[in-house]
């Protein structure tokens, strides 16, 4: 059994990011995806496996082929992970703004 993979670890790899870019516009088979890279086919398969395990890609059987497509919902989770950090700074800066709006210089 494979351990559950970290999404952020998954997108840290440039090939995997390139794969995600490729399938943004349309679903593709492993063969089509692999043909876009100089990397050996088994290496691409391994990347696809990792991306599928962490749910960034969804594999769908269509006839004899398996098509990979992007899981937009999971991608959004990645985009959202910065939000608490942004919110933390936003709160701090709002406070700064409030304090300075009421600032009275000392005589």
């Amino acid at each position: 059994m494979n351990l559950r993979r970290d999404v952020f670890q998954a997108i840290a790899d440039p090939t995997r990011r390139a794969i995600l870019m490729l399938v943004t516009t349309q679903s593709m088979t492993a063969g089509t995806i692999a043909s876009n890279f100089d990397t050996a086919r088994p290496t691409v398969s391994k990347h696809l496996q990792i991306l599928t395990e962490c749910e960034l890609l969804t594999a769908e059987q269509s006839g004899r082929e398996i098509y990979y497509h992007l899981n937009a919902k999971k991608m959004k989770e990645i985009a959202d992970f910065i939000e608490p950090f942004r919110k933390m700074w936003d709160d701090r800066f709002n406070k700064l703004e409030d304090i300075m709006k009421n600032y009275k210089p000392k005589e």
């Binding site: 990011r17 992970f81 910065i82 950090f85 933390m88 406070k95 304090i99």
Partner: protein, 154 residues
């Protein structure tokens, strides 16, 4: 709606940029960074030391509800009034190490200004860990803030 505070963190890079538009004149914005009493108010930390000058240093400290003290410190590399602060920042006793911060203060109009904070981390991994921190710390921070308010009532 346009967000006032924006974070630009490109995948796979060990840096990020925080920008914020302020409804404050440039001089007032800069003062909030220059004067220790004001820094204490908006950062919610105690300022033990703040030498705002070239080659100065600073030390901040917060106390959590259990009474544990958390230190933050850094060195001020360059301090140019109403223009920029270049400094390092470190959370004591954490594995994150030192980060380098370039703060640029700009006038937009007579009553508005902009801050650009460019932060460089030791590695991509450390940057991503720090970005994810508020998830875990959000609750603790809310407690700290509450404790501070309660302490002031005593």
């Amino acid at each position: 709606m346009e967000l006032k505070t924006k974070i630009n963190a490109v995948d796979g890079k060990q840096e990020l940029v925080i920008t914020r538009a302020f409804d404050l004149p440039l001089e007032l914005l800069f003062k909030a960074y220059a004067e220790p009493e004001i820094v204490e108010q908006w950062m919610g930390t105690k300022v033990l030391k703040l030498e705002n000058k070239n080659h100065g240093s600073y030390q901040l400290e917060t106390t959590d509800p259990k009474g544990n003290k958390h230190g933050f410190n850094g060195t001020i590399h360059e301090f140019v009034l109403n223009e920029k602060i270049i400094r390092t920042f470190e959370m004591s006793n954490t594995p994150f190490g030192v980060q380098l911060e370039f703060l640029e203060f700009e006038k937009v109009t007579d009553s508005t200004s902009k801050l650009t904070m460019h932060v460089v981390y030791k590695s991509v991994e450390i940057r991503d860990q720090i970005l994810k921190l508020p998830f875990a710390q959000g609750i603790n921070m809310a407690h700290n803030r509450l404790q501070e308010i309660v302490n002031q009532l005593k």
